[in-house]
């Protein structure tokens, strides 16, 4: 059983003047599915390699269980790095395709067969074990690939973008299967992806990184409902949260001709700031006479709901091209031909951020 903790773990690449991973503190529970997510270059792969023992930790420590593994070579860490090896070897049986790496590690034959059989049962591949892997479907190939990882029976799984080269459909079905398998096996897993939808649907908790710095780590819903700063607010969710900057006035923040009410104690947290940013999820809007005035540019009908794409009222036509787009998901019909609408928000669904510190203050 294994927990993982990063304690102020830092990695600076030789010749680089800033850390690729900067004082990372992260506790991963036993059996937890932790997803590291963030834009390209934010330090996800580096963090994973540090845990694997493939990247020097310049400062800080890494623990697996209560063992300090900071200076331990990879082979002594009991972890398995899963990479995108889906090549199926045409002359070998499915069983050998799943178990060959164990042979390289000198696992005795009987045990190899046992482990392969167990994995195959888990993956519904028992009947395929003695066949050669010709004409397997994309999904079946994915399962063989998962089998390759499972048979290694490590204490921690590390996965770096294992789905990035699959088409959209296979990606969706495989991510469900990986999450289900992880739940059954209960093996602590650290999973890296740049795709926030993947992160949110798979992770027990999600760690959002940017520029080598951990921004927030929380359950998917907490990330969604209480993003800690502007970056997380904009990164998590699709379509993204609307982030609208407005002037601080008595009782709220002014957007166009409307004052969005913000409690006094929230405003007090950003004393001295002239402007604050309001974060509003598309589905938090409703059509309301008391609301932000917008000019509708496109209406997309989704059946039950509609998406409204708009700009703040009064934006000139030239400015519209570059102006910030406001997206609203509404459950009402959009009155045809009506170009200007007002969008109201339930005060509880408004996120308020300081423009200076970028931090959430609501």
């Amino acid at each position: 059983m294994a927990t993982v903790s990063y304690k102020d773990a830092t990695r600076i690449y030789p010749g680089s003047d800033h850390p690729a991973v900067d004082r990372l503190n992260l506790e991963i529970g036993d059996g937890e599915f932790m997803v590291l997510v963030g834009p390209s270059g934010c330090g996800k792969s580096t963090s994973l390699r540090m845990l694997a023992g493939l990247e020097e930790v310049n400062e800080g420590n890494i623990f697996i269980g209560d063992r300090d593994v900071t200076d331990l070579p990879p082979k002594d860490r009991d972890i398995a790095m899963v990479f995108q090896n889906y090549a199926l070897y045409p002359h070998m049986t499915v069983a050998d395709n799943m178990g060959f790496a164990l042979k390289m590690q000198n696992v005795p034959k009987a045990e190899r067969q046992q482990r392969v059989l167990e994995a195959a049962k888990l993956l519904g591949l028992e009947d395929f074990l003695n066949r050669r892997p010709k004409a397997l479907s994309g999904g079946q190939r994915q399962r063989v690939a998962m089998g390759r990882a499972i048979v290694r029976q490590p204490h921690v799984f590390l996965m770096d973008e294992p789905l990035s080269n699959l088409d959209a459909k296979l990606r969706v079905s495989t991510r469900t299967q990986i999450a289900a398998l992880q739940a059954r096996l209960g093996v602590t897993t650290v999973y890296v992806t740049h795709d926030q939808v993947e992160a949110m649907t798979m992770g027990h908790r999600v760690a959002v990184m940017k520029d080598g710095i951990l921004q927030q780590v929380d359950s998917p819903l907490t990330l969604y409902d209480k993003p800690a700063n502007l970056f997380v607010a904009g990164f998590i969710g699709s379509p993204a949260m609307n982030l609208i900057s407005g002037k601080v006035v008595d009782g709220g923040v002014q957007i166009g001709d409307y004052v969005v009410p913000v409690p006094r104690e929230v405003l007090a947290k950003a004393e001295g700031e002239q402007n604050l940013t309001l974060g509003i999820r598309p589905e938090a809007f409703h059509v309301d006479e008391a609301g932000i005035a917008v000019d509708v540019s496109v209406v997309e009908d989704l059946g039950a709901d509609i998406y409204l794409y708009a700009t703040l009222a009064g934006t000139s036509d030239e400015a519209k091209i570059t102006a910030q787009q406001i997206v609203a998901r509404l459950s009402t019909r959009h009155p045809a031909g009506q170009n200007r609408v007002r969008l109201g928000v339930d005060p509880a669904s408004i996120h308020v951020f300081s423009n200076e510190s970028q931090l959430r203050i609501s």
Binding site: Y89, P90, R132
Partner: protein
């Protein structure tokens, strides 16, 4: 309308059926050439006089690989040449198809499937491993982390008596200013696993016979890589009286085919110790020299062989005092070109010129030994064409490996070895997991937050619970 992204637009590409999934293209458009395993659909197509490799792959990877191949090509790394990407493909029903990445088929390249034949010699395999190790080290020197070293992702070309290796699949690659030890180790670890699988597969197919053994081969790659890397980048320390060690190091690197563009030399004020470490090394030492002197573009060992012949020529003709460039020009017109002229046009696709010249030199050496006389070059060239070249298969576009390996082996699809071999009279077992695959289109890209909330409520985990 599909969109063509390329630095060298080519109108001959327009008529191809971009609205059809690559797997369904009519065979008239395809060229059957041997190739490695792949998870994507890859086909060779004939465009004018060139053959291109077409790979159907998701958009962000197509773009990523195209850019990386362009960078590698610009950095003069042995890799396939990118041609372009075709995006925004739609089938007749209007559904979006994955883009196609086009690369130029590497002429005279031999995928491993045509090099590993039953009874392949240990010597040959050892040379293939060497070529592979040099390729990996060269990529690491320029800061390229491959992420997917495997036999299928390498192409080999003959290089005098050795092989030169080329990168063919850059999809998982990353280019940095340099690599950390951990990044190189990870690449090697991936290489070990992939190559081990590749060798086991060859063994299972009867193409790798004892004493060739997968684990030994894989270990050899690791050891040789570390030795080469040490020679290329390692620190050497010696006392001030051994200054010739600097020259020795440079010579050893030259012999391995590398130039030292920058050597870090430190002297310790207190003691008389000297520390040296090559800082910038470039592959292609002999290649560059031959190119500069003759304009011939060859592989490294071919260049070495041709330069040796050039040096011999210079000595024998008493031209030691003449400028090297002048001698090179005379050698080119009096030795190299006359040999090439002995090769009939229709046989020229069998070997590259430099390789052919190398083989003529070999032929002449054996002939001279046998007949106890010095065989003139022209006579050797004619003999080589008659005795050797005539019988050789075409290697510019080698079809060798498409021949069945064993009497019972037949590829399910001759254009794609990844689909395995035909087995008669077998029904695939029923797979209930496949039944569950639903056919509804995926609303990808959108976060279904309602579903997430429902799932969280189910498992008793709610918003804020972990705070």
């Amino acid at each position: 309308m599909p969109r063509f992204v390329s630095t060298t637009p080519d109108s001959r590409l327009l008529p191809f059926p971009w609205d059809t999934p690559l797997a369904d293209w009519p065979v008239e458009l395809l060229v059957a050439l041997p190739r490695g395993l792949s998870r994507h659909v890859v086909r060779f197509i004939q465009v004018g006089h060139s053959v291109y490799a077409a790979k159907e792959v998701v958009e962000h990877l197509a773009v990523h690989e195209y850019r990386l191949l362009t960078d590698l090509y610009r950095l003069d790394t042995p890799s396939v040449e990118p041609v372009g990407i075709i995006t925004e493909r739609r089938d007749r029903a209007g559904n979006l198809l994955d883009p196609i990445l086009l690369t130029r088929h590497l002429e005279f390249s031999l995928p491993y499937r045509s090099l590993f034949t039953p009874g392949v010699r240990q010597e040959t395999v050892s040379r293939l491993l060497d070529a592979m190790v040099v390729l990996i080290a060269r990529l690491h020197l320029i800061g390229f982390k491959w992420g997917d070293v495997s036999l299928s992702n390498i192409l080999f070309r003959r290089d005098a008596g050795d092989f030169a290796a080329y990168l063919v699949d850059a999809e998982t690659g990353e280019l940095h200013t340099g690599l950390s030890d951990g990044q190189r180790e990870q690449d090697l670890e991936i290489a070990r696993t992939n190559l081990y699988g590749d060798f086991l597969d060859l063994q299972a197919g009867g193409l790798l016979l004892p004493p060739l053994d997968p684990i030994t081969l894989v270990d050899t790659v690791t050891t040789r890589y570390h030795e080469l890397w040490q020679e290329l980048t390692g620190v050497e320390e010696f006392s001030g009286s051994e200054m010739d060690r600097i020259e020795g190091r440079v010579r050893r690197l030259n012999a391995l085919g590398f130039d030292v563009a920058e050597m870090d030399i430190q002297t310790d004020a207190g003691s008389s110790k000297i520390r040296i470490q090559p800082k910038v090394v470039d592959a292609g030492h002999h290649q560059r020299r031959l190119m500069r002197l003759t304009g011939l573009d060859t592989e490294e060992n071919q260049a070495r062989r041709l330069l040796n012949d050039l040096d011999t020529y210079r000595f024998r003709m008493g031209l030691s005092h003449v400028d090297e460039a002048v001698v090179a020009h005379r050698w080119l017109t009096e030795v190299f070109e006359p040999v090439m002229q002995q090769v009939p046009q229709q046989l020229r696709a069998k070997r590259e010129p430099a390789q052919l010249f190398h083989e003529v030199l070999d032929y002449r050496w054996y002939g001279s030994q046998r007949e106890h006389r010095e065989m003139p070059m022209i006579e050797a060239a004619q003999g080589y064409v008659r005795d050797v070249l005539e019988a050789l298969p075409d290697e510019a576009m080698s079809r060798e490996a498409l021949l069945p390996v064993g009497p019972t082996e037949r590829l399910v699809n001759p254009y794609d070895p990844s689909q395995g071999y035909v087995e008669e009279g077998e029904q695939p077992p029923h797979d209930p997991w496949e039944d569950e695959v639903d056919d509804s289109p995926v609303p990808s890209g959108f976060l279904d937050i309602a579903a997430l909330r429902a799932k969280a409520a189910d498992t008793g985990e709610g918003s804020g619970a972990t705070r």
